[in-house]
């Protein structure tokens, strides 16, 4: 397992002199994973996000991931109600949420059970738990708490009880509000965080609140900090070994939102759906200032129809949704492909099918995005694998959509949506903003679908352009956009629309291989699993395994050279957060085995056998889970 104990990760040659707080020498660490878990609404996420931002500002690599219960107000003190955040931070770049946590702050014992069920902890994990429950007037609670503590100790956790609320009560009247900031202060002390940076963060987080609220939160922060300095002997120090460049810290959905602005998109049309909606929460706040608007449509069908209308009228548009919304948009995606309307569709994937796992991660929309249409529907599909790519790929999607006059589906997922990772501050390129609507007269002799024979590309007139008048139709049509059922015209239209995919394919380069160019095992992934896969692969390589990985960004058209690359490895295996039958499941044979989406696709594409490692737990892929399989495959 990774991070099996803190000592293993202790750096001896840390440049940063170990901080000393209250006489205790802080122990230098390369990285660590902490969690804050609570009932919903207790502010664990806010505290964790602030901690993550402060760490990023101190030059650390950071990855935070939210722990979200399925319901808005789950019952208090329930396992299913575990709400909170995990922060993995270190002196170098952090690319994923890692395996078991080193330390967790828990507001009650029941939510901890919820996390234990997810294998979030290991023997030795430090548990800092609110201990007010042992004084509860409700005998059942008292009992539950005592029992749980015994069990935690039996599991080998390093349990430390803290009367958090009682401490808060010394500084504020209502300790249930603001306890999270006290915890933030405590963690800042334990991990030698710069408390002035935490103060600044609180001011930012509560910028819309009154000065009184800000003051009380600052008081609690400082109280938690001093309390920990005096009462907890845990002190760690995480330095920075990264090149210090200007960076931005945000989650994937905010990055998508900024990408929308950077792409010069003017219309974002949506219908609320988890986990995509927060993109539009963010945009609704700021989009107007950059010349765009969010349209909340009456449903997902209307949302995409609206975006297509806007795009037809020359205004760049995006529609943002998740699985169930994608299903509803199907017919309009077909229209955008058929009638060649540029459009960006962002699908923040969640668990499916149907309403599925609304808040949880899955990669199950892959084949739908590529093939999920009646008829032949060339559609570009690309996937972001980091927060940074969430930003840049929106811009790329818009450019592709417009240059090739077609829908582009950008896949992200629930893990990227709420994951926070700093990335290099992008350059703002004025050219990437969409141009004003072209209203110069159209050359009459150019037909609205004058397909270039080689590339399938044609130029489109925009309403307002004199002499460009044409009637867009979803029916089979000729170059004039005249409805035409003649067999050869339909063949030609399909051929030309397909040709564009080949033209895009021509512009792609083979994927980079992480590790050796050939070997025993090649791991193939796509999307948010990138960090976990590469971490596992590099650990396996350190153990002597002959394993490499590659990660796909373009799924349709798929990046070139795969067959040739696959042939250089004895075995190829995908890693996916998807469903696939296990080989030794009852009734399963080679013939009826239902494979995971990417492995299915790559087998068909390359005619090479591709195995898979997959789960459908609704949890991000962990490096330890992958490493276990790699060890088995490689005999390590």
């Amino acid at each position: 397992m990774l991070n099996a104990n803190l000592d293993e990760l202790t750096t001896t040659d840390n440049n940063n002199s170990a901080a000393e707080i209250s006489g205790i020498k802080a122990k230098p660490l390369k990285e660590c994973i902490i969690e804050i878990v609570s009932d919903a609404g207790e502010g664990a996420q806010k505290a964790g996000q602030s901690f993550g931002s402060v760490s990023a500002k101190m030059g650390n690599g950071v990855w935070t991931v939210e722990i979200i219960p399925a319901e808005v107000q789950p019952p208090a003190r329930s396992r299913a109600g575990a709400s909170g955040i995990r922060i993995r931070f270190g002196s170098n770049k952090i690319t994923n949420m890692g395996d078991e946590a080193d330390l967790v702050v828990a507001f009650n014992e029941q939510v901890l059970y919820g996390r234990i069920e997810q294998d979030a902890y290991k023997a030795g994990t430090i548990i800092l738990i609110e201990s007010k429950w042992k004084n509860s007037k409700v005998p059942e609670i008292k009992e539950e708490y005592a029992q749980a503590l015994n069990e935690f100790k039996e599991r080998g956790f390093d349990v430390r009880e803290i009367l958090m609320e009682e401490e808060c009560l010394k500084h504020v009247d209502n300790p249930s509000k603001g306890k999270n900031m006290w915890v933030l202060g405590m963690l800042c002390s334990i991990y030698s965080r710069d408390v002035t940076k935490a103060e600044a963060q609180i001011r930012h987080t509560f910028r819309r609140k009154s000065e009184k609220i800000i003051e009380s939160n600052l008081r609690l922060l400082n109280a938690g900090y001093s309390w920990a300095a005096e009462n907890i002997e845990l002190k760690f120090q995480i330095g920075s070994e990264m090149k210090q460049v200007p960076r931005l810290v945000m989650n994937g959905n905010e990055a998508v939102g900024m990408g929308v602005m950077a792409a010069g998109i003017e219309v974002c049309s949506m219908y609320p759906i988890t986990p995509a909606t927060s993109v539009t929460h963010y945009l609704s706040e700021v989009f107007e200032k950059s010349g765009g608007l969010v349209h909340q449509a009456e449903d997902e069908i209307a949302a995409i129809g609206f975006a297509i209308g806007a795009s037809y009228a020359g205004k760049t548009a995006v529609t943002i949704t998740s699985g169930p919304g994608m299903a509803l948009k199907t017919e309009f995606i077909g229209l955008a492909s058929m009638a060649e309307v540029p459009l960006v569709i962002v699908d923040v994937q969640r668990g499916g099918p149907s309403t599925g796992l609304p808040t949880k991660v899955e990669q199950g929309d892959l084949l739908y995005a590529i093939f999920g249409q009646p008829g032949d529907t060339p559609t570009v599909v690309l996937a972001a694998s980091t927060i940074e790519e969430c930003y840049h790929f929106v811009i790329l999607s818009r450019q592709l959509a417009e240059a090739f006059r077609m829908p582009v589906i950008l896949l992200t997922d629930a893990n990227l949506a709420t994951g926070v990772q700093p990335f290099t501050r992008p350059e703002i390129n004025l050219d990437s903003f969409s141009p004003p609507v072209n209203q110069s007269p159209w050359k009459k002799e150019i037909r609205p679908y004058e397909w270039d024979e080689k590339t399938g590309i044609s130029q489109r007139p925009i309403p307002g352009q004199a002499d460009g008048m044409y009637v867009l139709t979803g029916l089979a049509h000729d170059e004039e956009s005249h409805v035409a059922y003649d067999s050869h015209i339909n063949q030609l239209g399909c051929n030309r629309r397909s040709r564009k995919m080949a033209a895009i394919h021509k512009t792609l380069t083979p994927p980079k291989i992480n590790g050796d160019e050939s070997g025993d095992l090649l791991v193939v992934g796509w999307g948010s699993t990138l960090g976990a896969i590469e971490e596992a692969v590099s650990l396996a390589r350190k153990m002597g395994g002959s394993v490499s990985s590659l990660h796909l960004r373009f799924l349709s058209p798929v990046e070139p050279g795969l067959e040739e690359i696959f042939k250089r490895f004895k075995k190829v295996m995908t890693v996916e957060i998807n469903y696939g039958d296990e080989e030794n499941d009852p009734l399963i044979t080679q013939e009826n085995r239902r494979r995971t989406q990417l492995s299915w696709f790559l087998r068909a594409h390359t005619l090479i056998d591709v195995d898979f490692l997959a789960h459908i737990h609704g949890q991000p892929m962990r490096p330890g889970f992958i490493l276990q399989r790699l060890k088995k495959e490689l005999g390590l």
């Binding site: 900024m258 950059s290 004003p436 209203q439």
Partner: protein, 317 residues
């Protein structure tokens, strides 16, 4: 990729548009289909208003009636069954300079597209909507429509349809923010024309239900009303639809109805004895969503970049 010139208002040389400037492909409707009359009336409205064809967009769904855009020589969008409204709204949202018309059928609007219809009324964006209501599914060959009268024999209800019909006027008048609701008939070209002209002049979502003959599938549907004009009641008012002399002569039954009076409009819409034609309701002061859409258009790339930079600063470390 595209010639990128400024978003200028086009300088069209002073040019008088004749009817032929609006005539697109040869209509393929059945010869005596009521849709022909609507097309002619619309082309006349375009000529009367001298609409620049390049600034005019006809949007439709799928159905016989939704073939409409192909027969105009303007921009057109013949999209999906039931979805003309979202598309039309998207077109209009950031392009206040475009004149948008929607042609839709009773299946398109009142069945598969009913959700969008309700919301389109509420968005109240400036567009002219023609519901070509033949009380049947034409294109797919005579299935019951939500506006088919109870007992209508169709291919899906060979023993007669079971449910009472939706009355599109009552529905429209029942939606918050409705701003223009009228009814006319395809067989009275003068009233049809005046109604569409008034609808086009209204600022907001102008909804016109046009009773439309489908001789192919229901040859006798409006036969009685056509042969006996007394079965029609003409709504008149100084703020209503102009009724030229020939219309007034034809329809002896008339009532004065103030289109500002919503309650009376709803009462009249419920009448089952006579076909009321004219303007039921009009209120140009209703909230218009397209005004919101046009509130921040035309930012320069630099202005967009500056806004983005401000955002970067908020997230910078």
């Amino acid at each position: 990729m595209f010639g990128l010139q400024s978003e200028c208002m086009l300088h069209v040389p002073e040019q008088y548009h004749t009817l032929s400037d609006y005539e697109g492909a040869q209509p393929r409707w059945c010869p005596s289909c009521g849709d022909h009359a609507v097309l002619t009336a619309v082309q006349k409205v375009c000529r009367e208003k001298q609409l620049p064809p390049e600034k005019t967009v006809f949007v439709s769904g799928i159905g016989c009636s939704s073939r409409f855009p192909h027969y105009m020589k303007t921009y057109g969008f013949h999209g999906l069954h039931g979805r003309p409204f979202p598309v039309a709204e998207g077109i209009k949202f950031r392009r206040p300079d475009l004149d948008v018309f929607v042609a839709t059928g009773d299946g398109d609007c009142c069945s598969i597209g009913a959700g969008h219809w309700i919301h389109a009324i509420r968005y109240n964006m400036n567009m002219t909507v023609m519901l070509l209501d033949n009380e049947i599914y034409g294109l797919t060959k005579m299935q019951t429509s939500p506006t088919s009268r109870k007992g209508t024999i169709s291919n899906t209800h060979p023993h007669g349809s079971i449910l009472p019909p939706i009355n599109p006027l009552i529905t429209t008048l029942g939606v918050a923010n409705a701003s223009f609701v009228a009814q006319t008939v395809d067989w009275n070209p003068a009233h049809l024309y005046s109604t569409l002209l008034a609808a086009h002049s209204h600022q907001g979502f102008s909804f016109v239900r046009i009773l439309q003959r489908c001789p192919h599938f229901s040859p006798n549907l409006f036969a009685e009303e056509i042969s006996n004009p007394d079965l029609t009641v003409l709504l008149t008012h100084e703020n209503g639809i102009e009724a030229v002399e020939e219309v007034q002569k034809m329809y002896k039954n008339s009532v004065v109805h103030d289109p500002a009076d919503m309650n009376e409009a709803r009462e009249i819409a419920q009448r089952e004895d006579l076909i009321p034609i004219g303007l039921f309701f009009c209120d140009p002061s209703k909230e218009q969503y397209d005004k919101y859409g046009a509130s921040n258009i035309g930012f320069s790339p630099q202005k967009k970049a500056d806004a983005l930079n401000v955002e970067f600063e908020k997230y910078a470390v």
